[in-house]
């Protein structure tokens, strides 16, 4: 399933590098020059654009996955300890 366009893309970075930097790029954690190279490459390379988009989707979906809201099995004891501690330190603020 090689890229069908006739010529290899002329780019400062390879697709393999883009794929490795995708997460850092999405978090804006690459230096300006590299960022420019990646942006230019993404504009002309469908494979990389798809890949980076998928990593972005993963990042976003992981953040909103339904989570089990867990409470400590002994939350009553914790709360009591907290209250007791607060009473012992009335002046602390």
């Amino acid at each position: 399933m090689a890229q069908e366009e006739g010529q290899p893309i002329f780019s400062e970075v390879t697709c393999q590098e883009i794929a490795q930097w995708a997460s850092a790029y999405l978090d804006e954690h690459v230096e300006d020059e590299r960022k420019r190279h990646i942006a230019l490459h993404l504009a002309i390379c469908a494979g990389c654009e798809t890949y980076v988009k998928q990593i972005a989707t993963v990042r976003d979906v992981v953040g909103i996955l339904p989570k089990a809201i867990e409470q400590p099995s002994d939350s009553q004891r914790l709360r009591q300890a907290f209250v007791a501690r607060a009473r012992r330190l009335p002046a602390s603020r």
Binding site: E28, I55, T57, A86
Partner: protein, 242 residues
């Protein structure tokens, strides 16, 4: 929590002229809430304590599980962590964030417990997982030689119009992603939970885990890549005609 942050961020956006990093926005707004929470905790506000526990307990348990043998021990570790937090609140100086402090205590306790349970050897093999390798992506996806070297040999197939929301509408997709996350080795799971699930800023994740930003992104990308593959497998499995 993410929703909360983005809501506040938008209202603040007119003030964030110089900032291009979205995480700077959220850090400024979240910081105010944190300071208020800390003040309430110090005043002995029970509801503030409940809030704190509710906010972090699940992630603490999930991370502790990576260090100790089972769920029960993880719960003990986190329970102990909360006791230390309660005792230490008066002395907490706020040089790190409350969250960094709490997660630091948990990791310390969990490691300690893990060592006592003689999982030490398993640990060191985990810890030495090389962060310098660049194999988050499979080299065989790319041409390795010739004029196409470094270009996709097998480019990813677009996920049509899959948005996070659409993926969440499928219980099967959710299960696939959760399984992929739970199956991650600890070093990868820690960064994914903190950065992507809990939305902790990169710098703070590095502080909590005591790793460099380079390490963080190597690990984070490996973790995201494994979840990406799980989504891909789910999408391919759903469409047998592909």
């Amino acid at each position: 929590m993410n929703v909360e942050i983005s809501g506040v961020t938008e209202s603040m956006s007119h003030r964030m002229v110089a900032s291009r990093k979205p995480e700077l926005n959220s850090s400024a707004t979240v910081a105010n809430g944190k300071v208020a929470l800390l003040a309430r905790l110090r005043q002995g506000d029970e509801r503030a304590f409940d809030e704190l526990v509710t906010r972090h307990h699940s992630a603490l348990i999930r991370m502790a599980m990576g260090y100790v043998a089972d769920r029960e021990v993880a719960e003990e570790v986190v329970q102990d962590t909360w006791m230390v937090v309660i005792e230490g609140l008066g002395r907490f100086e706020g040089r790190s964030s409350l969250r960094t402090w709490i997660f630091g205590i948990m990791i310390h306790k969990a490691k300690d417990r893990g060592v006592r349970e003689k999982r030490h050897t398993t640990f060191s093999s985990f810890e030495s997982a090389d962060d310098d390798g660049d194999d988050a992506t499979d080299p065989s996806w790319f041409h390795q030689s010739g004029e196409w070297a470094g270009h996709w040999a097998f480019p990813p197939q677009p996920w049509d119009d899959q948005t996070p929301e659409k993926l969440l509408a499928s219980q099967q997709a959710i299960t696939a992603m959760n399984r992929a996350i739970e199956a991650l080795p600890r070093t990868l799971k820690d960064v994914l939970i903190l950065r992507d699930v809990e939305g902790v800023e990169a710098k703070e994740v590095c502080n909590i885990l005591k790793i460099t930003e380079t390490n963080l992104y190597v690990r984070l990308h490996r973790a995201r890549e494994r979840v990406r593959q799980a989504v891909e497998a789910y999408l391919v499995g759903r469409k047998p005609t592909m």
